[in-house]
């Protein structure tokens, strides 16, 4: 087994190694290939943990209400059920043992009529109680539609990868250019592109192509391709056998490193005895960090501030994973904005986060800045507007059966579903903010997309243990995160308005020219 990049967890790693071999009588072997110095630390920590048989586990989960909604509908589709008996049966499952009768009734109402305060759907109910008191599906069509949409894993929308569109390198995403040749190029219409689209070479996640700019190269199906354009459900590519590929990124990096591994890495950085097991360049890196800045104690969090170019930077090292760091960065940005520091942007990886601003941040009260109360109103206010809630709501709406991906005779593409759930989210949020699915989406976003619980534990842990270093320049430990600046795009509504204003500026400039 060859593990590229960091393993993220000791148990995850053991499982991955174990299933690679397929022979019961031989041990599996694994090689770690860390891609950065931080990953070297993480790989070392994982290998040590596995040797010591210290395995980290997944925390227990509470059953979600969208999955329960699908289950109740499924029960009604197979045979009539008794409300109380079903409640007892559901509570016999561990994740639902704490389910309240009120929530259960709420979910039944949702399955039946959508669970709206405005009771206008009573005559269209999907499940109805019969004269015998048992609940059953309305009719055969309801059952068929449910069965076509069963499933609680929302796979990402995929697009077809097709050869085509290469003759007109799309200017989408390119820097604005004033070259006359470029602007004279006739824009082809979408259907011309589609007609040019040739052989399908496979399918890939839509999100992957959203990261690519036209002209970027990547490896797919064992060959190097150039990405031309994304039109509807087709990504158009042309062969680029002589180019160096920009490697595809895979889902592995979406998992945060386990809390157990994170604490091992923090100890490893502090304890110089542990360094001896590391390669020379990593030891040297840590030694320079000690000289130039500081090595935090295992219970501490290091915060560095320094100027660079015309900007001022704040870098901290919580080691809590990208999700928790992104959430922390969003919340810190709101605070820094209120403090008049003029935050301009941020970037996160699994180990650290970096924020930059117009004004210096050396003099800030860091204990106040990192106070746990940021998880209150600030989090609520930001979350409601964020694209994460919309993504989370979409998943809940699909699982709970509010939206159907497939119905008899036609199939909606993933893209169309995105659009309509956003409209539903906006309307529902305004007219019934306590609706079951919104509650569900909030809870899911907090755990799955934001890692709020982990962030909360981290803020509690570092309270009174922030080690601040005001530096003249970037520290050795900060280099990896600083290199990631510019790779991420900031999504969100504010960005949307900026894009519109930008494009309008271009038109006005064109008109004046």
């Amino acid at each position: 087994m060859i593990q590229l990049a960091a393993p993220k967890g000791a148990s995850r790693m053991v499982q991955r190694i174990g299933r690679a071999n397929h022979r019961l009588d031989e041990p599996s072997r694994a090689i770690f290939v860390p891609a950065s110095r931080f990953e070297m630390l993480e790989c070392r920590a994982a290998a040590d943990a596995i040797l010591e048989n210290h395995l980290d586990g997944e925390p227990e989960r509470t059953g979600t209400l969208d999955v329960l909604a699908q289950h109740i509908m499924g029960c009604a589709c197979s045979e009539p059920f008794d409300l109380l008996a079903l409640y007892e049966e559901v509570r016999a499952a561990g994740p639902y043992s704490a389910l309240s009768w009120e929530d259960f009734e709420g979910v039944v109402d949702f399955v039946s009529t959508g669970g709206y305060a405005l009771k206008s759907y009573d005559k269209f109910r999907r499940i109805v109680p019969g004269a015998d008191g048992l609940w059953r599906a309305r009719n055969a069509q309801t059952v068929q539609r449910h069965r076509m949409n069963v499933g609680a894993i929302i796979s990402p929308a995929t697009v077809n990868v097709r050869i085509g569109g290469g003759k007109r390198p799309s200017r989408q995403g390119g820097a604005p250019t004033k070259s006359g040749a470029q602007s004279a190029a006739k824009p082809a219409s979408t259907f011309a592109d589609r007609a040019r689209g040739g052989r399908k070479i496979g399918e890939a996640e839509e999100g992957y192509f959203e990261q690519l700019a036209p002209g970027d190269t990547f490896v797919f199906a064992g060959q190097v391709w150039r990405f031309n354009s994304l039109v509807g459900a087709d990504a158009f590519v042309s062969p680029a056998p002589d180019c160096d590929p920009k490697m595809p990124s895979w889902g592995g990096s979406k998992f945060p490193l386990s809390t157990y591994l994170a604490s091992r890495v923090r100890r490893m950085i502090y304890d110089e005895q542990e360094w001896l097991a590391l390669p020379g360049d990593v030891q040297e890196w840590l030694a320079w960090q000690k000289l130039r800045s500081a090595l935090p104690l295992p219970g501490e969090m290091l915060v560095e501030t320094f100027p660079r170019g015309k900007r001022f930077y704040l870098v901290c090292y919580p080691f809590e994973g990208r999700l928790a760091h992104s959430t922390l960065a969003m919340l810190l940005t709101r605070r820094l904005d209120r403090l008049g520091v003029g935050p301009l942007g941020f970037v996160c990886n699994d180990y650290a986060l970096s924020l930059w601003s117009l004004k210096p941040m050396d003099q800030l009260d860091l204990d106040a800045l990192f106070d746990q109360d940021m998880l209150g109103d600030d989090l609520e206010a930001w979350l409601e507007e964020s694209f994460m809630m919309k993504r989370s709501f979409k998943a809940c709406a699909l699982i709970a059966g509010l939206i159907e991906r497939r119905h008899p005779g036609q199939e909606k593409s993933g893209r169309q579903v995105t659009f309509s759930t956003d409209l539903i989210y906006d309307v529902l949020r305004r007219h019934q903010p306590d609706h079951l699915l919104l509650r569900c989406a909030r809870a899911d976003a907090a755990s799955g997309l934001l890692d709020v619980a982990r962030l909360g534990e981290m803020l509690a842990r570092i309270r009174g243990h922030i080690r601040h270093k005001a530096l003249e320049r970037v520290s050795p430990l900060a280099v990896p995160i600083m290199l990631e600046i510019g790779r991420e795009r900031a999504p969100g509504d504010a960005a949307g308005e900026m894009i519109l204003a930008d494009a309008e500026g271009n038109l006005i400039a064109e008109a004046m020219a």
Partner: protein, 235 residues
């Protein structure tokens, strides 16, 4: 090129076939000289249509959300005439499914102003009970208001039906918004309804409708943005 300027309300004032009109950030058209507000494709009761037809329980709040948006425009402008440019209801039974208070609010719109219902393909008969005049099309200051754009060049035509949306790109990012689309001779309005989707203005359905360079007036939060063809992208 279409002549345009930002208006203080956040709208975009354009010269449409010789008449000055304002494209509002809500997606409504304001014809000031006639004190007339025009909205297209409201698709009232689209949510309940899905419940009635498919048993899909979309939130039943789209009608009141659309009415809230309409109220906002009426308060801001006090129009003497309100023109619905077709597909006001999602289906022929939509009017009968209106919740009581929504129906009363809709009827209340006729107080102090003329309501005009142009018919569309979703509501070919127009409303049966609600007040107002039901028409196929009307002429106003040389502009022709109708639901579905006629084929070929139609100077002065104001229509809906196509639900135009623009994907606007700048640098590496892009954003998709509802939009007006015009070449200065004819105008297509965005869909005003809360549950209405959008069709990219680069789709072939818009082909052959415009002679001059395309201007997409994309709806921002508070402001309409004039977007040229070069910043538009397919989906």
């Amino acid at each position: 090129m279409t002549r345009f300027e930002s208006s203080p309300c956040g709208g975009l004032r354009i010269d449409l076939a010789g008449t000055s009109v304002v494209l509002r950030a809500s997606g409504a058209l304001w014809i000031e000289l006639e004190n007339t507000l025009v909205v297209a494709d409201l698709h009232f009761e689209k949510g309940s249509h899905y419940a009635a037809r498919f048993g899909q329980m979309l939130p039943p709040y789209d009608t009141r959300e659309t009415l809230d948006r309409l109220d906002h425009e009426i308060t801001a402008l006090s129009p003497a005439r309100l023109v619905f440019l077709g597909d006001s209801f999602h289906d022929a039974q939509g009017e009968a499914r209106l919740a009581g208070d929504d129906a009363a609010r809709l009827a209340g719109l006729a107080r102090g102003r003329d309501l005009v219902w142009a018919v569309g393909n979703h509501d070919e008969e127009g409303p049966r009970v609600l007040p107002g005049q039901v028409i196929d099309e009307m002429t106003l200051l040389g502009l022709v208001l109708r639901h579905e754009p006629r084929a070929g060049l139609q100077p002065g035509e104001v229509a809906g039906h196509l639900h135009p949306a623009a994907r606007v790109s700048s640098g590496r990012s892009s954003v998709r918004r509802r939009c007006f689309v015009t070449d200065g001779d004819r105008l297509i309005l965005p869909a005003f309804g809360a549950f209405t989707g959008g069709l990219n203005v680069l789709d072939q359905a818009f082909g052959g409708l415009f002679a001059g360079p395309l201007l997409a007036a994309a709806l921002g939060k508070q402001k309409v943005h004039a977007i040229g063809r070069r910043s538009l992208r397919p989906d």
